[in-house]
Amino acid sequence: MRSPLRERTAGALDGIAGLELETLEPGAVVVVLSAVGDALRLDMPLGPALPGELQRRLSEAQILRAVDALAESVDRWSLPEAFSPEASDSGLEWALRRRDEVVSVLTAARRVLLPRGILVDGSANAERLARAVAAHDLSCGGTLTRAEAERLLGERGELAIGGSWLEYVAWAPEEAEEGPDRAWLDAAAGDTPPSLELLEGYVVFGRLRKFIESAAARWPEVADELADMIATYREHAGRVGFIARLWDARRRPQTSESGGVVVSFERPGPAKKLAASDGDSAPEAPSIEHELGILDPLDAQASLTASDRELVLTVYAGATALREVTLGSAHAEPPVRGGVWSVRLPWDAATGDGALRVRVRDAAGRDFDAQIALGPDPA
């Protein structure tokens, strides 16, 4: 399918083939990554040679310097106090379009660096970029609607699909805003396979569960792509949310004694002594924190921290209050304030075949109910 953005992206990919990648300065690397990221987000083929060229000729240092250059340019974004549809605002248009390019640059950077075992998101450079982006309220204090934002994105509006960064900005309400009915989104799965950006949102955060899982059920290549992504992220200690792990576990079921699918998480190895010269010092108490993402169908997110002594499940309520949080035999006390529930389970209280039940219930009576097991950290 032709579109102005696809045409431009195809042209950019043509142009990249004529560049000496290893000599590019950071600003030019931003252009290359942005184009490659656009192509990945649009599910456009990169061609047979380009992925290898990027691997061989673009260094980690070049990419991280480009991320720095991007953060510096984000610092120069200039936004109005408030948005007025009658007043054209070139600075706002510029910031929104560049914000969208940030997603593309990071998408491409991940694609190039992950096979080398490098997680760009964990770098200080990416964190600085994230801070720079977060410092700008692109909703202009809640005066800009999402529809206006999509208009200002111009041809990049093609990327403003469900699961994109636009979902997470506190836009002004539309005049005739409809409820959170996502049926159209699920229906869309019948037409187009989800992009890599959407798959990543699902793997990391559990976003658009019905959409992604119905697409994976329909297209084997989407299921394979999803499984590869989950395996790669887990192999390199990347973040994989509960929902994606659950989907993965259902493909290769490992059942508990009581039946049902068990979702596996990494557990730290045994406590180690510090260096010999430290003599009688206490052993290290390593821990692994798993960001679980969204506990679909609830409006809640969670994290699970596994140390050598205990498990801690923390659940953050969204718009709907929670009523109950349990982990194995342990029940969380309702929080005094803030909607943050936390439950601790010492290892010696975890019994049976090692599978633990995680159950979260919200005020609307909806349940998240799953079983987990913790195994040794492969790292």
């Binding site: 579109s3 102005p4 045409e7 431009r8 992206t9 195809a10 042209g11 950019a12 043509d14 142009g15 990249i16 004529g18 560049l19 000599t23 590019l24 300065e25 600003g27 030019a28 931003v30 252009v31 290359v32 942005s34 184009a35 250059a69 340019s73 200039s78 936004l79 109005p80 106090e81 408030a82 948005f83 007025s84 549809p85 009658e86 007043a87 054209s88 605002d89 070139s90 600075g91 248009e93 510029w94 379009r97 560049r98 390019e101 309220d137 202009c140 208009r151 994105l153 111009g154 041809e155 509006g157």
Partner: protein
């Protein structure tokens, strides 16, 4: 102010920029917002008045000294007890998106414009607008794919960008617009009216020329595609630039 300076400029795609009188309030509001930096000062985090760099073009549309002199004099002008309400000319700040010129008393607007004309700012602003549009009067149509590829290869060749203006056509909300973006960071926009007749919309600058990635985005950033509009699917560049680059 009459724009353009000639009766008509014929552009590719059947577009015609016929000379028309820009209402003085509108013209004055844009002069204050862009060359005099009121727009830059009215950001959430205020920028320097010369953020758009109208003091850097040759010859400059304004300088700090000329701006200071103008601001002092306009602040003291009055008509029937009404005074200029643009706070930024007095060193303070407003949060409104547009300068107050749109609601100013017409005689005061005229006096203000006459005073600014002594600094040659309106003439320079108009000349820059017309320069950008004239660059593509005999322009060459080029596909998005080809131009993007060529410019990407030219990232490390600053000379390749000299004289480049990219004309794009599309829709910005309810308005159909023609946008002419110069690689030097100046941009002019024209409304598309009935029978493809154009009217001036705005002219502004951005300090993008020094950074290759921002310069590329600047010239290629287009209004939203609108397939029904002539040339909406292609770029237009100056004919001599296209010839120099084998397009």
């Amino acid at each position: 102010m009459k724009l353009p300076s000639v009766p008509v400029l014929e552009l590719p795609g059947g577009y015609r920029w016929v000379q028309h009188e820009v209402p003085m309030k509108v013209w004055q509001a844009h002069l204050l917002k862009h060359p005099l930096g009121v727009g830059a000062l009215r950001r959430r985090q205020p920028l320097p008045w010369n953020h758009e760099g109208w003091d850097l073009i040759d010859p400059p549309a304004i300088t700090e000294e000329r701006r200071t002199r103008f601001a002092e004099e306009v602040s003291n002008m009055s008509f029937e007890r009404r005074r200029c309400e643009v706070r930024e000319l007095r060193g303070s700040r407003s949060s409104k998106p547009e300068p107050e010129c749109y609601h100013c008393e017409p005689p005061l607007v005229v006096k203000c414009h006459q005073r600014l004309a002594e600094e040659a700012t309106p003439a320079r602003y108009a000349a820059e607008t017309e320069r950008l549009v004239r660059a593509v009067v005999d322009g060459a149509e080029v596909s998005r794919r080809l131009l993007t590829g060529r410019l990407l290869v030219a990232l490390k060749q600053p000379d390749a960008w000299a004289g480049l203006v990219v004309m794009t056509v599309g829709r910005d909300g309810k308005d159909a617009v023609v946008r002419c973006s110069g690689a030097d960071g100046t941009r002019a926009e024209l409304y598309v009216g009935p029978q493809r007749q154009l009217g001036w919309r705005t002219t502004y600058r951005s300090a993008v020329a020094e950074r290759p990635n921002e310069r590329l985005s600047w010239v290629l950033d287009s209004p939203a595609p609108a397939p029904g509009l002539s040339l909406s699917e292609v770029f237009v560049v100056p004919r001599d630039w296209a010839n120099r680059h084998g397009i």
